[in-house]
């Protein structure tokens, strides 16, 4: 119970910190949306139009900082994130809904794949200590994990798009293709997803392999594993149920925590491949100084990671009584 309270406390405080950060940043930094707008009208805008626009965009109010803060919290709680400057008059929420499926599809799938694959490979590699797998993999994956995501992406583009022409340069499907649930369309989507997915996979899998391998090695030295061996249980059973399971548990939270990193990397992958997902949209918002969009995306990513962490925490607690006891 105490554990649960602490996790809720953590969740609430992190959420509040992210919200507040989001509120403060644009107000601390130079420039404001009104000015950005003036720049866009290139010297032609007259004061009345300027004022009218400010009202339309909801900027330039004379509220005190505290009032603005409270307004902001209330609006956010009600899911009103404001109007996107770039996609005016579209509300931010519906703009993001355009990008979200692409990111969930690409980044979500590949992240889970990397985690599962990496965990299995790491487990086997530790089990066969000193085998070929175990001596070859770590150095390779230490290297690939140190590769910047975007560099792996650029290499993929150079080799498989520019030189060999096997895969498209970017975007999420062939332009001009009707967006319908046909095999042609699905094939085009998959074709466009191969390179970015491979990039994320190659770069992120190493971390999982190494973590799992190290956890597993430590676990294998534990008494209960030796006991199981002495009892003559089947090796597969020991590997999966005894050692594997316990080595995996600390990894779950690690997985959730590292979602932030993966998303960070995915932003750059989306950028390199012009993939129209959340990360790409964030960079576009940054470029256009679209504050409302930028903030909401940041909030979205934070909340996603936070929820994942809490879910992973709770799952760990359910599966592993020791965690609860430690509190």
């Amino acid at each position: 119970m105490r554990y649960l309270i602490r996790r809720i406390e953590f969740f609430m405080i992190t959420l509040w910190a992210a919200l507040t950060l989001n509120f403060l940043l644009p107000r601390l930094m130079p420039g404001n949306p009104a000015l950005a707008m003036m720049a866009r009208y290139r010297g032609r805008v007259n004061p009345q139009a300027m004022h009218a626009l400010e009202v339309a965009f909801g900027v330039g109010t004379n509220q005190s900082l505290l009032e603005q803060y409270l307004h902001y919290l209330v609006n956010t709680a009600q899911g009103r994130f404001g109007t996107s400057l770039t996609f005016f008059p579209e509300p931010v929420g519906s703009v993001i809904m355009q990008a979200l499926p692409w990111t969930l599809g690409l980044v979500g799938t590949t992240t889970v794949m990397a985690f599962v694959l990496g965990t299995v490979v790491g487990m086997v590699s530790a089990w066969r200590r000193g085998g070929t797998l175990d001596s070859v993999l770590p150095p390779i994956f230490i290297m690939t994990s140190a590769f910047p995501y975007f560099f792996t992406g650029l290499l993929c583009i150079l080799i498989f798009s520019v030189a060999l022409g096997w895969f498209p340069l970017g975007f999420s499907y062939t332009l001009g293709q009707p967006v319908t649930l046909t095999w042609a369309f699905i094939g085009s989507v998959l074709d466009h997803a191969v390179l970015p997915a491979a990039t994320i996979l190659i770069t992120s899998i190493g971390g999982w392999i190494l973590t799992m391998r190290n956890n597993m090695i430590t676990t294998l030295a534990e008494d209960y594993v030796r006991m199981a061996r002495a009892k003559g249980l089947s090796p597969l059973r020991i590997m999966l149920h005894y050692a594997g399971r316990n080595a995996l548990l600390p990894n779950l939270t690690g997985f959730a925590m590292s979602l932030g990193f993966v998303i960070s990397g995915a932003i750059l992958v989306e950028y390199v491949f012009s993939y129209p997902g959340v990360g790409f949209m964030l960079l576009q918002a940054v470029e256009n100084e679209d504050y409302a969009l930028m903030q909401t995306l940041f909030l979205l990513i934070t909340v996603a990671v936070l929820v994942a962490v809490v879910v992973a925490d709770l799952a760990t607690a359910l599966l592993d009584p020791r965690t609860r006891a430690r509190g």
């Binding site: 405080i13 992190t14 910190a17 992210a18 950060l21 940043l25 601390l28 930094m29 130079p30 000193g130 175990d134 001596s135 770590p138 150095p139 230490i142 290297m143 994990s145 140190a146 590769f147 910047p148 995501y149 975007f150 560099f151 650029l154 290499l155 583009i157 150079l158 520019v162 340069l169 770069t203 992120s204 190493g206 971390g207 999982w208 190494l210 973590t211 190290n214 956890n215 430590t218 600390p250 925590m257 932030g260 990193f261 998303i263 960070s264 932003i267 750059l268 950028y271 964030l282 960079l283 940054v286 100084e289 930028m294 903030q295 940041f298 990513i301 934070t302 990671v305 936070l306 962490v309």
Partner: protein, 311 residues
């Protein structure tokens, strides 16, 4: 950026085994192949950073050559679309990239040590608050935050970039150091020091920190790796100072001029490879430190050999 998470979550082993002096560390590094590779790479990059003028015939910013030349003896890696020598740019860029790595590594480690050890030593409410803050920083996705921060503060200064990376990069270390410090907190030699009436600061600096040398070094390496990758990413998307010379900035210019598509791939690939190799150097060292401090992780063959020499 994953490796950092991976390594940070590696199980923390008993403190006794972690107690190394620097001479022990040096010996351990020599006998570990991964560590040696890391040190050699790092040394190469350091030479590039320290004496670039010995390695390059041209001013890296000079635009006096013919644009987009293919590699030749006069221009080992060809020229950029602006008529700059790619090799000269590559070598001179090592300085800023390395500076960011080391600067962020040192500062972030310092913050981690202060927060982590203070939390463990003070215990109670201060520990609760500090741990909570650490966890908050850990969970907030750093890269989007950096992007947002760097946009607002794009005065292009190196200081801002380093500050942003430190703010977003200290929390992993703090968490690890805290649990490490917790495990030594109640050991006899600390009790003895307290009984002698030593001040807290003395206990922390003289008694606790030395037990954590290798973990602190590992943290420095992790933070440096993080800084290399994050800084390159930021500069690549144009959030650094585009007038500076660094690998990330080179990548930015190359990407902006579609270097891959218009036939000057080396302009884009080489700085990327340098970032990857510098990152690899830090990652190799980091991993090696894990092996050094946790003998169970050492490669099987050499583990036996090491045991033989130890005894």
């Amino acid at each position: 950026m994953d490796i950092r998470g991976a390594l940070a979550d590696a199980p923390v082993t008993g403190p006794g085994r972690r107690r190394h002096g620097f001479t022990d560390l040096a010996r351990a590094v020599r006998s570990n192949r991964k560590a040696s590779a890391g040190v050699i790479l790092l040394a190469l990059f350091s030479i590039m950073a320290l004496v670039p003028q010995w390695l390059t015939p041209y001013d890296p910013q000079s635009t006096s050559f013919r644009p987009s030349l293919a590699p030749s003896l006069r221009h080992l890696l060809g020229t950029t679309a602006y008529g700059q020598d790619v090799w000269s740019q590559l070598v001179w860029s090592a300085r800023e990239s390395l500076l960011i790595a080391v600067g962020v590594g040192l500062l972030a480690t310092a913050v981690s040590v202060i927060v982590g050890v203070a939390a463990a030593y003070l215990g109670g409410l201060p520990d609760h608050v500090l741990s909570l803050v650490t966890d908050v920083f850990l969970v907030i996705p750093t890269f989007p935050l950096i992007v947002v921060l760097a946009t607002y503060a794009k005065s292009g200064s190196l200081t801002v970039l380093i500050a942003v990376l430190v703010v977003t990069g200290w929390s992993y270390g703090a968490r690890q150091l805290r649990s490490q410090a917790l495990s030594v907190r109640n050991r006899e030699f600390l009790e003895a020091a307290r009984v002698r009436g030593e001040r807290s600061l003395y206990v922390i600096v003289v008694e606790i920190l030395p037990t954590m040398t290798s973990l602190i070094v590992a943290n420095f390496l992790g933070a440096a790796l993080y800084a290399v990758l994050a800084a390159a990413g930021l500069q690549f998307i144009g959030l650094g100072n585009a007038s500076d010379l660094s690998w990330g900035t080179m990548l930015y210019w190359a990407e902006n001029n579609s270097a891959l598509q218009v036939g000057s791939p080396l302009w884009e690939i080489m700085p990327g490879a340098c970032v990857a190799l510098l990152g690899t150097a830090f990652a190799l060292l980091n991993y090696a430190f894990d092996e050094i401090s946790n003998p169970a992780l050492r490669p099987a063959g050499r583990r036996r050999a090491a045991r033989a020499t130890d005894s």
